[in-house]
């Protein structure tokens, strides 16, 4: 039997290590190592950038150990060392190649600074260093696969906590700027631009301790919660909701303008996500032109309220929003009618076409006298309540929060209504749904229209947030962004939309260097999510069941395939 190259690469520890090494080399050449080099995590010990290739070594060690299949601990560790060293070898190979060839002629990021970072400051002479470090880290990865889940979880939690707090130290330090308790805490944990060494130890043990406590006690707490009779449980739930709301209300006061701005953006994406969720998550209609409705909401508010030359009515924001919502809803229905008969992947492409047509028309000189072409609409006034102007991001945050809460409420009621069940029936099987007496035309058009209306609310707030509207704000990438956050959060799941927005919109805004790699990571996240966890981070029960049923069927089919294939 012929052993294919793929099988060899996948099975031997060196092969595994080299695959991960290729990932590490790619990450380095794509510029991530250098971009994150200044993002220190623990002062004087480790920064995010140079650590990235060795995270690959960790993955390689763990991966190789997982494939060891019932060998002794020593053999497993050995495989980890081999895999980690192979990853390091790939990195060292890159450093060596960088010393000989002028890689920079092709790869813009292959600078001397990069090679210095990769060889941990030693330059070409230190090429052996990545191999050693890789081997050590790989052994760590292999070791982590040997210990039990209960022992591993606190350690992982502690490390993740150090990583997260280190990454966001700047923001946390700002929040801890005032008050003597806060500054004492800050002194304890942080050095000027990173966690201090002592601080990282504290964070690690606190997080690990909490995780361990939850591992040992959590089950009992959960059981006690389950024993609480339903009326009180409902009360508890309401209480939790109230506490959450109260926290949300004080956030902008604590967080300051920058964080509030980020939260407003997250809120806008939550609004769009909830809208697209009606289409993709509930009704199963994959819409890649969704940004068009966001744009229509923004342009409607812009045209109706602008005090500039293109403004038509100079209405107040509050009068313009309902009109914007109606216009978006109508646009959703109008663009929905032609695509009623299209299904699945063709629907995605057709809606993408519509989205691009809207953008190109708005951008064109043809409609410039009305929509301002590439210069857009300017001088959109801020909304005000009884003479109080909602000016800064802190104020807009409340507006976004209120509209998100309202929209989420509407979405939840829709989901549990007759219409919501009809959507889900259409998602599961259009033909059967129609046979059951569901009017496909009405149901689908309502999904398009209501989804578009939600996006229109987001667009309206977006317009007043910027004070102007440009066609360049409405790229296809926004649609992809919204789709990605729904998928990552979990299709059809409303908490998933919030989680997805926080992860995909909030995090990249906070990590400024991240901006360049945003779509790289989104793309990888979509591919990986589809393979590892197609139901998303916070899935609904129905989707989880459906996808796992699919998997089982796929697995059995795969089995059938294997028997029909030629050996070798």
């Amino acid at each position: 039997m012929r052993v294919s190259a793929g099988r060899w690469l996948g099975d031997s520890p060196v092969g595994t290590g080299l695959i991960w090494g290729a990932v590490a080399v790619f990450v380095a050449l794509a510029g991530m190592v250098e971009a994150f080099a200044e993002r220190r995590i623990i002062a004087g010990v480790v920064a995010l950038g140079p650590a990235l290739p060795f995270l690959a070594a960790l993955g390689a060690g763990y991966h190789a150990a997982r494939r060891a299949g019932g060998r002794g601990a020593l053999a497993v560790l050995g495989r980890g060392v081999g895999a980690g060293a192979a990853t390091g070898l790939a990195v060292a190979g890159l450093v060596a190649a960088g010393g000989v060839l002028n890689l920079r002629a092709v790869f813009v990021n292959a600078s001397p600074a990069l090679f210095s970072l990769l060889s941990l400051g030693l330059g070409p002479a230190g090429g052996f260093l990545p191999i050693l470090v890789g081997a050590a880290v790989g052994m760590g990865g292999a070791a982590s696969s040997l210990v039990s889940d209960r022992a591993r979880r606190p350690v992982v939690t502690g490390l993740v906590a150090v990583l997260v707090i280190g990454l966001f130290q700047e923001m946390l330090q700002l929040m801890l700027a005032e008050g003597w308790i806060q500054s004492a805490l800050r002194e304890l944990l942080f050095a000027p631009d990173a966690l201090s060494r002592a601080g990282s130890v504290v964070v690690f043990f606190v997080a690990a301790g909490a995780s361990a406590a939850w591992t040992y006690r959590g089950e009992r707490v959960r059981q006690q919660l389950m024993r609480v009779p339903p009326p009180q449980r409902r009360l508890l739930k309401l209480l939790g909701l109230g506490v959450g709301l109260a926290v949300m209300l004080v956030v902008p006061l604590v967080a300051g303008p920058f964080l509030s701005h980020v939260l407003v953006l997250v809120g806008l994406y939550v609004l769009m996500g909830l809208g697209l969720n009606l289409e993709v998550g509930y009704a199963g209609l994959l819409d890649l032109g969704f940004v068009a409705f966001f744009a229509i909401g923004a342009y409607t508010v812009g045209l109706l309220t602008s005090t500039g030359g293109l403004g038509v009515a100079q209405l107040s924001f509050w009068a313009a929003v309902p009109i914007a919502v109606l216009v978006s809803l109508a646009a959703g229905v109008i663009l929905g009618v032609p695509v009623l008969r299209i299904r699945g992947d063709y629907l995605a492409i057709a809606t993408l076409g519509f989205g691009e047509i809207v953008r190109l028309l708005v951008l064109s000189d043809f409609l410039r006298p009305w929509l301002g072409g590439s210069q857009g609409l300017l001088t959109i006034p801020k909304p005000s309540i009884g003479g109080f102007e909602l000016r800064g991001p802190e104020h807009l945050f409340y507006l976004t929060l209120a509209s998100s809460a309202l929209v989420a409420f509407v979405a939840a009621r829709l989901r549990d209504s007759r219409l919501g069940r009809a959507w889900m029936a259409v998602r599961e099987d259009e033909d059967v749904a129609e046979a059951m007496g569901i009017n496909l035309v009405n149901v689908k058009l309502l999904a398009y229209g209501l989804g578009a209306a939600f996006a229109g609310v987001g667009g309206a707030i977006f317009a007043v947030m910027l004070g102007s509207v440009f066609p360049h704000s409405f790229q296809l990438l926004i649609s992809i962004n919204v789709l990605a956050l729904i998928i990552v959060g979990g299709m059809g799941s409303m908490p998933g939309v919030v989680v997805g927005s926080l992860f995909l919109v909030g995090l990249p805004e906070l990590l400024r260097e991240f901006a360049d790699f945003r779509f790289l990571v989104y793309g990888a996240a979509l591919v990986l999510m589809m393979q590892l966890r197609p139901e998303g981070l916070w899935p609904t029960a129905a989707i989880r069941r459906e996808l796992h049923a699919g998997e089982e069927m796929g697995a059995s089919r795969q089995g059938a395939w294997a028997t029909t294939r030629h050996p070798g």
Binding site: G6, F26, L29, A30, V106, F107, V108, L286, L288, V337, P338, V339, R341, I342, R343, G344, D345, Y346, L347, A348, I349, A350, L352, G353, F354, E356, L360, L363, S364, D365, F366, E430, D431, E434, L440, I480, A484, D516, F517, L520, Y522, G523, A525, L526, V527, M529, M530, Q531, P534, L547, G550, E551, M553, G554, R557, Q558, W561, T564, R565, H566
Partner: protein, 370 residues
């Protein structure tokens, strides 16, 4: 999940049985669709009449536009082959195919640039261009095979939205991966001295680059056609696209056929990348996206899964896109009609998907799956 309905476009469920009277048939949706059709046809007719009666553009301008459209369309056709072949074999839209095209052209830029600097691009233009083309095709092929292995193969039996979303993700991953590797700026492809200037053929002026693009793509398409129709792998490919399970029972190694399909489609896209660079003279990490969508339009236009259809669709789309803005829109008094050429292409895409998803030549290869 629904391999039984690969197009998702099986006969409309909205149409009522034929015995209803015509008044009942004029329901809201059909009325709307008819209005859409009539509006587009009116724009085309009135615009064409306006332009022709104004007589602003002499014959040679139209000839230039048609020739340019043919050159552009043949590039679309080459890319469209990848879409159509993958759809035929797997029933999925390889949304990242435009990026496969970009990866080849962008990588080959560095070879072309090096050859131009050393002077061999001017001394041995044929050999140098062949080297550039081979590098481009090899890169595209490598990217596509990797893509298939990493992103698509594990999802072959997943519900149908799953591979599409993975493909969208892969598309953005590839764009930004190449942006990270090669930088975000436009790169100017070197010009080939021999290909500057023009030839005049039967009174029609044709730029030399355009002639090369046309001839090369026609040759490649012929080669592909012979490969698919005559070679053993090509036969296996057609067998898999007819019915994957039965082909496997007959001893066809389906995985291998899928890989070959991706590889051949990608090689065509890589070649298209070099031809595209010859015409447009610059490359960029985002360059694959719009041609990708347009090539997909071409594939659907010709009937997805159908190889001659993709060629025909590509040429047709190229000509409409090149002639259309002036012929249809200028006559309506629209300023700067050329800005709207993509609107024409996307409108065609949407119209084909709505009104004739089986394309001009039907979908011979996939129809059996229904």
């Amino acid at each position: 999940m629904s391999r039984g309905d690969p197009l998702g476009s099986s006969p409309s469920h909205l149409e009522r049985p034929a015995r209803r009277s015509w008044v009942e048939k004029l329901e809201f949706v059909s009325l709307f669709l008819w209005a859409f059709r009539v509006a587009v046809i009116l724009v085309v007719i009135v615009g064409t009449y306006g332009t022709v009666s104004a007589g602003q553009y002499p014959g040679p301008v139209w000839a230039d536009l048609v020739v340019f459209g043919l050159a552009q369309g043949s590039v679309y056709a080459l890319i469209a082959l990848g879409y159509t072949m993958v759809y035929g074999v797997l029933g999925m839209i390889n949304f990242a195919h435009g990026e496969v095209f970009m990866s080849g052209a962008y990588t080959a830029y560095f070879v072309a640039d090096a050859l131009a600097r050393s002077g061999s691009l001017d001394r041995h233009p044929l050999w140098s261009l062949l080297v550039v083309a081979v590098v481009s095709m090899a890169t595209s092929t490598a990217v596509a095979v990797l893509l298939e292995r990493v992103a698509y193969r594990p999802l072959r039996h997943a519900p149908r939205l799953v591979p599409l979303i993975a493909a969208i993700g892969a598309s953005f991953f590839l764009q930004y991966a190449f942006r990270g590797l090669y930088g975000s700026g436009f790169k100017a492809y070197p010009e080939v001295a021999v290909l500057k200037g023009e030839w005049v053929l039967a009174g029609i002026r044709i730029l030399r680059t355009q002639a090369v693009v046309l001839v090369a793509s026609v040759l490649m398409m012929l080669g592909l056609y012979v490969f698919v129709m005559r070679s053993k792998v090509g036969t296996a490919m057609r067998a898999v696209s007819e019915d994957r399970e039965v082909a496997a029972l007959m001893g066809v190694d389906v995985n291998r056929v899928v890989v070959v399909t991706f590889a051949v489609g990608a090689a065509m896209a890589g070649a298209a990348g070099v031809l595209y660079a010859l015409v447009f003279k610059q490359v960029h990490f985002f360059m694959g996206f719009v041609p990708g969508i347009k090539a997909f339009t071409a594939a659907v236009l010709g009937g997805i899964g159908n190889i001659p259809g993709a060629m025909l669709g590509g040429l047709f789309l190229g000509i409409v896109e090149s002639v259309g803005p002036i012929l249809f829109l200028d006559g309506l008094g629209i300023v700067a009609p050329y800005q709207l050429k993509d609107v024409i292409a996307f409108t065609m895409l949407v119209m084909v998907l709505i009104f004739r998803p089986s394309g001009i030549l039907g979908e011979r290869l996939t129809v059996k799956k229904a």
